[in-house]
Chain length 490, copies 2
């Protein structure tokens, strides 16, 4: 606990790294750009994964597992896909090491005789190997839809990395579905976008905007990319999940046909969709404060901590155990801190730091008065509450915290969507206020890139709920029929 957390106002980027380190979420590793996800960080990811997995299964998907390695030549089969991913692949060229030297001089070298005939890439995403497999699995419309997801690690050789937000290796899920018609594939694409949005808002308490990406920001190989975009506390946007309508592109690249109901061979229609450990970064940046991590109760590995004051005793333990039992009966996860080395003040700071939503401080005087001190992490308010019905009180408090975090984030987000109609306003919003600038754009990649060049802002999405409205492009002055959302982004 040597160094304090850097305040957000001082240096937001340092604050983020401090939270990741001090809340024990992740650690650097000796491998460039790869992080170690520590137990507390991983427990949050596990809760995300379990909630998402249940939602995928409810919508008819099953899990499977495809190889980590992809033959190099697969990457070039889909013309746009190769340009998107060849730049950032880890390449396996050999399958054996050997040792040379003796004693202290002994070292390991790559065995030149164990060179692969065809190099393998470590999957940056699995469309190619999966569609190569689907060719054998799909013969007729009776084999469709094929609704498969996989939880996996992927590698993209990023040059500038940040824990959770951008790492060379990351954990994710990738859904890959196959359909008999474009309509059905589009319905699936939209359904999974809705699943992501529901998860983000109801579990992460992170409001998101559903939208479509521009051609320039589209996934390499997709016909249309849908996304959910969130806003971080520093006014930068975060792409939190994407769902792609792939048309017949991968079916054509890998010769995947099905016999339709009219007995004709047709290329299969596809979608893919994914979210990753990046969500943990989004979670941190949406709710946390200068005292540490703030977690929505639904994703908190420990929801309630009970701290005996000033230190554990048989009398306090008995009451703490009773409270814990009554909370656990309601499905609430509880930790009783029976450590007798550290003082309450130290512990309070520690649980604030790691984001436990509710803290119960229990002293002898409290017990005598049949009450307990309840502190909520989101607002830091404290209150003495009767021990009678404490379980029900805490359950409602957790729901209230979940809702409050969402409301707070939504208010911030809504206040940071600014309609701008001139270039001056646009620059002003990006530089001073931050957040999304809702502006007219002429629809060309040329203008989009010019704006990015001038301001570093990108078009985050064309919102799905946006209205048609005549206007002129903030840069080119050309006519436009709808506003899009610009922001600087992670």
């Amino acid at each position: 606990m040597a160094k304090e957390i850097t305040p957000r106002s001082e240096n937001y980027s340092e604050w983020y790294l401090d939270i990741v380190q001090k809340a024990r979420l992740a650690d650097n590793s000796p491998v460039r750009g790869c992080m170690v996800i520590k137990p507390h960080g991983f427990a949050i990811w596990e809760k995300m994964r379990d909630a998402l997995d249940a939602m995928f299964k409810e919508t008819g998907h099953v899990n499977a597992y495809f190889p980590l390695f992809i033959p190099k030549s697969f990457l070039s089969k889909e013309a746009k896909h190769v340009d998107g991913f060849a730049q950032e692949c880890a390449v396996v060229t050999h399958y054996r090491l050997k040792t040379v030297g003796e004693g202290d001089n002994r070292q390991v070298v790559v065995d030149p005789e164990a060179k692969l005939e065809e190099e393998l890439i470590v999957r940056p995403t699995s469309e190619t190997i999966i569609w190569n497999t689907y060719r054998d699995w799909i013969q007729s419309y009776r084999d469709l839809p094929l609704l498969i997801n996989q939880w996996a690690n992927v590698v993209r050789w990023e040059m500038r990395t940040r824990p959770f937000l951008r790492t060379a290796e990351f954990l994710w899920q990738e859904g890959h579905t196959a359909h008999a018609s474009a309509d059905e594939a589009m319905i699936e694409t939209r359904q999974m976008l809705d699943v992501y949005a529901t998860f983000a808002e109801e579990f992460m308490a992170m409001p998101v905007i559903k939208g479509v990406k521009t051609a320039n920001e589209r996934f390499a190989g997709a016909e249309e990319t849908f996304c959910i975009e969130a806003l971080m506390q520093d006014g930068k946007a975060l792409q939190a999940g994407t769902s792609h309508f792939l048309g017949q592109n991968f079916a054509k690249a890998f010769d995947v046909y099905f016999l339709n109901k009219d007995n004709q061979q047709e290329h299969v229609w596809a979608t893919s969709w994914g979210v990753s450990t990046r969500l943990v970064g989004g979670l941190i940046m949406t709710h946390s404060d200068d005292s540490g991590l703030v977690l929505p109760p639904k994703l908190a590995p420990i929801q309630v901590v009970i701290i005996p004051i000033p230190k554990p005793s048989p009398e306090l333990s008995e009451v703490a155990d009773k409270i814990a039992a009554s909370l656990r009966k309601r499905g609430i996860s509880v930790k009783i801190d029976n450590d007798d080395q550290n003082r309450p003040g130290f512990k309070f700071a520690e649980y604030e730091l790691i984001g436990v939503p509710v803290r119960l401080g229990l002293g002898a005087r409290d017990i005598a008065a049949n009450q307990v001190e309840v502190a909520r992490r989101d607002t830091k308010e404290k209150q003495s509450v009767s021990l009678d019905g404490i379980d029900e009180y805490v359950e409602k408090l957790l729901e209230d915290i979940q809702q409050n975090l969402f409301n707070r984030a939504k208010q911030y987000r809504d206040e940071h969507i600014t309609k701008v109609d001139t270039w001056a306003e646009f620059e002003d919003v990006l530089e001073k206020k931050g957040g999304f600038a809702s502006a007219h754009w002429d629809g060309t990649t040329e203008t989009e890139l010019a704006i990015k060049e001038k301001t570093k802002a990108t078009i985050r999405c064309i919102p799905l709920d946006g209205e048609l409205e005549d206007g002129v492009c903030i840069l080119s002055g050309q006519p436009s029929t709808r506003r899009v959302l610009f922001a600087k982004a992670y």
Copy 2:
């Protein structure tokens, strides 16, 4: 359904591959030695993983995630470890591809300018990178024990592969714990061996023998390797899980010290333990028959299938839905097969093939008689059962099947442990009867290797519950104090 399943008696190895393919457990992939785990196979693995994960957490472990890649030089830090793993590593040497040519001649090549300074190996196991990390996490005895597990994919470049049993990439869990004393580490090692044995017997219905590996079969870098050994239906043994007491070997290799209670610096004590998707192979080979997969109910993704006979109708559906609801209330997973294209006989064969433990055949005449036909997969017995209390009946039947599978496998296994006292008996058992030969051995690696050379049999383990008994080694005639178990193995 073109080709029938090869009978076990005809060709056990073909039978195994047929089950894997026809029960839709796994598929070959275009990457040498890597398999695709299909949804049905993955659902079984998920059930294994969830059961094991709960057992790990009950014993105080938490999950984390460490990088896929390990710097090449790490491998050589533990002298024995490097010899065990250097031979079979996938090596990443480059981090970028590039495209050359235009149009139809366009292809991807490795970018020679994107060569890594130090090559990375894809983890074959994670002791090295984890102990390199633990150096930063452990300062004093207060940081111990550190009880961490990870679920991950690992790669060992195997030359001869078989789905689930031996693949280049496989899924597994690896526990890596750190302790303040040798005793505590040894207790942990044994505890996790017990967890594995309990899981194998209670969930997989697969009896196992707990034992110690000989020095020759020990994990590269361990002081002592404990294992559970199972017996397959062809008389070959399968190592189903290992738990290693690592002593201070990795702490010494990576300079991991802790300040003990006497305020002295000491190297940390370690364990590691793992089971993998290989267990799915063991599960198949323990219970399945010539009609297909046989699954213990606790690991069956679908426990009960209800088939309307001869085909779905509103009347049958109503009753089927009621039965399904009453079963689901008891936590039983049920599928109602409302497909109206295939005939009951086809469906019966199909569900036998994929190993659904209980099948309910429901016809109009059954309903009139207030009964349903219940078929159990393990014995293929069929019986008409009253619809009153069918949920309770099925629940008990599932328990009975679970127990029956274990008893059957245990009887077979026990019948195939043969005490032998001469070389002739030993060879005879290995050649004709199969299974474990319980024999005296002089304790030398030299004799162990000579026996392997002559018979292909290895020492599977020195059983933990073995008794001291004077005897002479079957090969060398040297004195021995206890029997060990030999067998041919997967």
